[in-house]
Amino acid sequence: MAFLDIIGVTKRFGSVKVLHEINIGVEEGEFLVLVGPSGCGKSTLLNMIAGLEIVSSGEIRIRDSRINEVHPSQRDIAMVFQSYALYPNMTVGGNMAFGLEMHGISKSERQALVKEVAELLQITPLLDRKPSQLSGGQRQRVAMGRALVRDPDVFLFDEPLSNLDAKLRVDMRTEIKKLHLKLGTTTVYVTHDQIEAMTLSTRIAVMMDGHLQQIGSPAEIYQLPSNLFVAGFMGSPPMNLIPAKIVNGNDGIALHVSLHSGEMTALNLYQPSPGLLNQVGREVILGLRPESITDPDSADRNSPANQPLLNRIIITETAGSDTFVKTMLGGVEITSRMRGDSEVSANSDASLVVDMSKAVLFDPQSEQRIS
């Protein structure tokens, strides 16, 4: 039993099943991010927790009591919407106090609570303004203030930052994280932005087509994606997925991968799982993060499995702190991350270092991770 339990929750619209048997347990104080491409069902799941959508089957429990039939306003949750949904006819203060008023809290108490939260969010000077007189970032703060003032058991965020410009989004992301550190309220946050998911969460649930793909800490999701979808979706640039074949190498079993020239090279597997030993000849997909294929200077010196590689550089992209370099490996274009001042140039051969201790293997048919 966790603080917020989602048990076998399914959602159907008519005959269309949009969520398939979702099971998630959120511990008290956790910051869970639901992430996935649009249409994956993450917002539907959030709305079901809020009580704005009916649960077709399964159960949602808060503090071990079933809330499927509880009215949204009685669930002790507060939600921040993508469009902020500030009441246009009320002042900022009125917006924040409305929920309290509906719950029968006295005027003096309302004012005190609103004042406290306004100070926390630094929106005290805005309390008498109308939402139309606020900037995007200010509206965002007010929307959060309206949720905070209720002091709920669970915070729900529905893509709260997607209407902000890029710089403000990064700032607000930090604000939300600080706020969570300070208050420790259990939070479920929906986004399609995997960077938001990685930076904010204590745990991430990756969803696609109504199925939960993987749930785990940001590091787990990043290092050990459970399938090809998660590997490709999380991380920017995404994980390189390289077709390879298991062979007997000089030094245990290895992977045969083609270089740009068409020549084959062998990459030794680091501590291969026993199951792979008798699978020589099997086609697999090798997953390597861009930072695991890098120049000799940037390579992790503590890695026990650095392997050199000489390959042709197709193109380089300078991004300030990093240089992204494209090469061909296994017949696909892959991205490697090098230092910002790396001097490799396009159309020349460069030596690369592959950190095989970070390698993951997927089965090309089932698309699941096998090692």
Binding site: A50, M79, A85, M102
Partner: protein, 292 residues
């Protein structure tokens, strides 16, 4: 150079002169009847008979206005238009308020509390906007008789409310359609119920469309002649019917000045409503969305 000229396409003086001439002609064409009515309502009957229609009054008299208001012969009574004006007021105010309120609630339900068959329901209500008045005359008379409201002001209020709901619902539905659903969801989470959300969140943001609906309903109901002539008794007839009786029940001489004054009196309330809230009308028609 004025700002509007800056934005307009470059045109020659000749084109411009042509445009202004045409506009002027249309303006005169539209204003001429009002001018004739106003000037002639201020002339004595002798002057009307002697002079031409377009001439300004030689001596201004308000006698025709006073006569039209409270002593002109209407049907059998020399009561003037006053009691009928009051009948119209007593009919139009409740009819406009009730139909606007119902339209607002209908629009709210149709857009924010979607239910199975809402589309069909709305389609049927929209259809009612296109039913010609004449078709419902006999069934309506029967219904009014059955519920005991035949020949009363309340009966006319009912008829106009029923007929107005289609339009008022259409107005409010389209307005609330652009109103973000997330606001309703946020209010639900805040603990507001069905009517509280309507009363506290939607209605305060509905100013422009309320003005549009009131003007529309007021004009239609005030100007209605057919229902008034069909369903009202002598003591509940609206001013439009009385005006017709004033003009048709002459005691020998046709008092054109009194008729003109009476016609302006009958048109005055709608004119005032337009002048007072006309700019909200245009604004409301164009207002699509509420920025949250």
């Amino acid at each position: 150079m004025s700002q509007s000229r800056d934005n307009s396409l470059p045109t020659s003086h000749f084109t411009r002169a042509l445009i202004y001439t045409a506009l002027l002609i249309f303006a005169v064409y539209y204003l001429l009847p009002l001018f004739v009515m106003l000037t002639n309502s201020l002339k004595t009957l002798d002057e009307i008979r002697a002079g031409n229609m377009l001439a300004l009054p030689r001596s201004i008299t308000i006698e025709p206005w006073l006569k039209a208001w409270d002593s002109a012969q209407i049907g059998v009574d020399p009561s003037g238009l006053k009691p009928y004006f009051m009948n119209s007021v007593l009919m139009v105010i409740p009819a406009v308020l009730i139909s606007t309120m119902l339209g607002a609630i209908n629009g709210y339900i149709l857009t924010k509390w979607n239910f199975r068959g809402a589309g069909v329901m709305f389609g049927l209500m929209l259809f009612s906007c296109f039913i010609p008045f004449q078709i419902v005359l006999i069934p309506m008379a029967r219904v009014l008789g059955l519920i005991g409201l035949a020949g009363t002001t309340s009966g006319l209020v009912l008829v106009h409310v029923v007929y107005g709901i289609g339009f008022t619902t259409l107005f409010f539905r389209n307005y609330y359609n652009a109103f973000p659903d997330e606001l309703v969801r946020a209010a639900l989470l805040d603990g507001a119920g069905f009517f509280r959300i309507f009363w506290r969140i939607l209605l305060p943001s509905s100013g422009p469309i309320i003005v549009v609906t009131i003007i529309w309903q007021f004009t239609n109901i005030w100007n209605d002649f057919l229902f008034g002539a069909s369903f009202a008794d002598f003591d509940s007839q609206p001013i439009t019917v009385a005006l017709n009786n004033l003009v048709s029940s002459s005691t020998g001489v046709k008092e054109y000045n009194v008729h003109f004054a009476g016609a302006i009196l009958a048109a005055l309330p709608t004119l005032i409503v337009y002048i007072v809230s006309g700019r909200y009308f245009v604004r409301g028609l164009m207002a699509g969305s509420v920025k949250g």
